[in-house]
Assembly symmetry: C3
Homo-oligomer: 327 residues x 3
Amino acid sequence: MRQQNDWKWRDTAIVSLRSPSSLMKLCQSQQFNKDALSVIFRTAREMEDIRPATPESRQLEGRIMSTLFYEPSTRTRLSFESAMARLGGTVLSTESAGEFSSAAKGETLQDTIRTVEGYADVIVLRHFQAGSSMTAASVASIPIINAGDGPGQHPTQALLDVYTIQREIGRLDNLRIGLVGDLANGRTVRSLAYLLSMYEGIKFYFVAPDVVRMQEDIKEFLTGRNVEWEEVDDLAQVAGDVDVLYQTRIQKERFQDRPQDYEAARGKYIIDKETMKILRKDAVIMHPLPRVDEIKPEVDSDPRAAYFRQTKNGLYIRMALLKLALT
Amino acid sequence: MRQQNDWKWRDTAIVSLRSPSSLMKLCQSQQFNKDALSVIFRTAREMEDIRPATPESRQLEGRIMSTLFYEPSTRTRLSFESAMARLGGTVLSTESAGEFSSAAKGETLQDTIRTVEGYADVIVLRHFQAGSSMTAASVASIPIINAGDGPGQHPTQALLDVYTIQREIGRLDNLRIGLVGDLANGRTVRSLAYLLSMYEGIKFYFVAPDVVRMQEDIKEFLTGRNVEWEEVDDLAQVAGDVDVLYQTRIQKERFQDRPQDYEAARGKYIIDKETMKILRKDAVIMHPLPRVDEIKPEVDSDPRAAYFRQTKNGLYIRMALLKLALT
Amino acid sequence: MRQQNDWKWRDTAIVSLRSPSSLMKLCQSQQFNKDALSVIFRTAREMEDIRPATPESRQLEGRIMSTLFYEPSTRTRLSFESAMARLGGTVLSTESAGEFSSAAKGETLQDTIRTVEGYADVIVLRHFQAGSSMTAASVASIPIINAGDGPGQHPTQALLDVYTIQREIGRLDNLRIGLVGDLANGRTVRSLAYLLSMYEGIKFYFVAPDVVRMQEDIKEFLTGRNVEWEEVDDLAQVAGDVDVLYQTRIQKERFQDRPQDYEAARGKYIIDKETMKILRKDAVIMHPLPRVDEIKPEVDSDPRAAYFRQTKNGLYIRMALLKLALT
């Protein structure tokens, strides 16, 4: 048990702050190196086998997780809460912390964290402000897990994406990955590009409408690390070549004053039955969900549609993180 | 245990869809026949005897229920959550799923269900749209329990009403029942009329203000099944004759553009001390709650006021359904 | 165990209503005498030593607490919910009961309580109306704990304040206490004055901006009980003399039509590094939290800054109350 957690103690790239009380700060995808991912994924795989009412299902008995959400995210919250429940832990749930009395009365996030850490053993923080999980972690004496900080990071999503690729394809080296849709605003695809860049023989295809193309910083980052990438207009061409076709939603909320740009972008790259005919037999479709219509429901029953398995993998990843943080 | 659940597997009138994973879809009152009611009520009766910290109180240990509520209904939610807790299970609670990110971003109910079923073992769904529980059940691989779908159905309320009659009166045959108040809009009284029509020797009295009289479809349905019914203007006359006087609230929210109709309707049939003088000694007053002033508080201390026992019976019915769905 | 709870049964000053079912109504600070405080504090001290996954941490297994909050108070709610979790109990959480269907449809608080008591073993009530916990307690057949009723009482806050003084200073007699800030509106400081008046050799200093000075009723009450008090303008003078400096927030929400009064009041008495230089070595700073800027963050790392320990003590007090109410 102790050995398995050793990465928390040794690798400064992963956890920059420590304390005698098994401190963990999970704020950014960049914290993880390959060794850390390997430990997390091995633990997640063990989590898949835990059955109700067994000793393994009670290993966090008496431990308390606070889901402190300053903006609602039902999916992420339920995933964390289910993870804690499946390990026998207890949840204190707060879904719209921002509206609440303390914040409304002018309390700082730091003070809120120092109060809530008295009631819980780990805080899962969702906040609308980038960097807020770092702020929280800087004062907390218990583990903080970033469950999304606005335009910033959503590291557990990034982990479940990579875990899904490993589970579906069987490897993380020598992969061809098509990233499709809103590549400019999607923190998901940016994190994925970052994490996969640590592996060998990765090639990215970027398939995006003009208004939401992949940003320059990621392209430069990949080039700097000798990772192949290519921008392609034709989804069909990419679909026939890749191991993973990762579709994303065009985020309407980013186009508030440009409805015509939104309409142009959203309809451009749709995955449907025709796409599935081109897709290789051993490839998979992924999507961070929620989707609107960028993947047609007719695709759902295809065994290569991996997106509901992907969301389920979020449960195992979060179970693994809670176990690593609390034991 | 297996035997007790057999009705789920044999009777197509009750459960129309099956799967090897003990699938149950509880969407409509019409799903239940007398045998099904008998199993549920026998199980509910057992639930009344479960004490805290006993093996029986842990029979759903490790099982997870998601209360997915698209509109708030504190009473129904707490009843289900208490039921799950009393069997040792865990709850993932969502009280205003409709406001939340996924639905707001355009996700379909089907996609939400396919996500949440990865986190839970049973979903209790409250939705503002009639038929939504059927939609949910059509894609789910875990049991779905309808906790009210807008103007549609609220089958667990119907079950607890019938269970209360059996517990209070001691039988379900040969009953005289007065339904009072808003009979046009109340899904409660419609479901009750449907379910009791399966028993022998039932007679209904309908006592309603003109603007909210019982609808023709139910009258025709009862006539078609040779169930006696009669519309009566005088509450006192009915009160002296019935076994059960079932009062309902005039629903202000249905009269938005007709406030004068609401005022006329709401004051017409009030149950007070005078009514109780007429009511038979072995009869009971029921009400689905919440009430406004259609039953005066002075009635509450009368032992024939069964409405708070009725709401408590909801707990036992929901415990029974969760047990039947998950074991 | 029985012996420890005897105060509930014997002292009419503490619990004015009883029933064979171990009834407890915790509505007002005035209910407590010194013996009751002594039992509660002794129990709270035991609570500090409970570790997860031990038999002591399961003593409320199978018991259900409903947090029925008609206005949000994340801090208080989480504190109660954490307390229940640490004793192995289960929570039914409701954060904005006032918006919900039943209340919106015109249901009285009494009816809501009589419904919820069917689902839970204890109700923790937060309400916007003074006296509502008394109303609730008058109909309930299970314990009711007042978690704040608007401008009225917040007795568990009062208890944790006194407990903190005992834990930090080591005694409750012969204390010099400076109450600082909004003394007119703060129910916290009023309750504290009341409870400490029961002990020997207490002296209060009131340090408040003119617009929010301590009200006459409390001054008269203290004088009537021969408790020394003094109004002082100079915070520094008081800081050098007291055992406890109890700072409070100037409540902006009380100055809605007088923003200039608010600005004048809020900046007048700030605790900062300079104050800490004057404060005695064995004295402490307390604050009910949340704070805005009436204590500068530079003070937080001083060991005499007791306010985060104080909020943590709320957990132990609430554990003690739940244990006393339910066993």
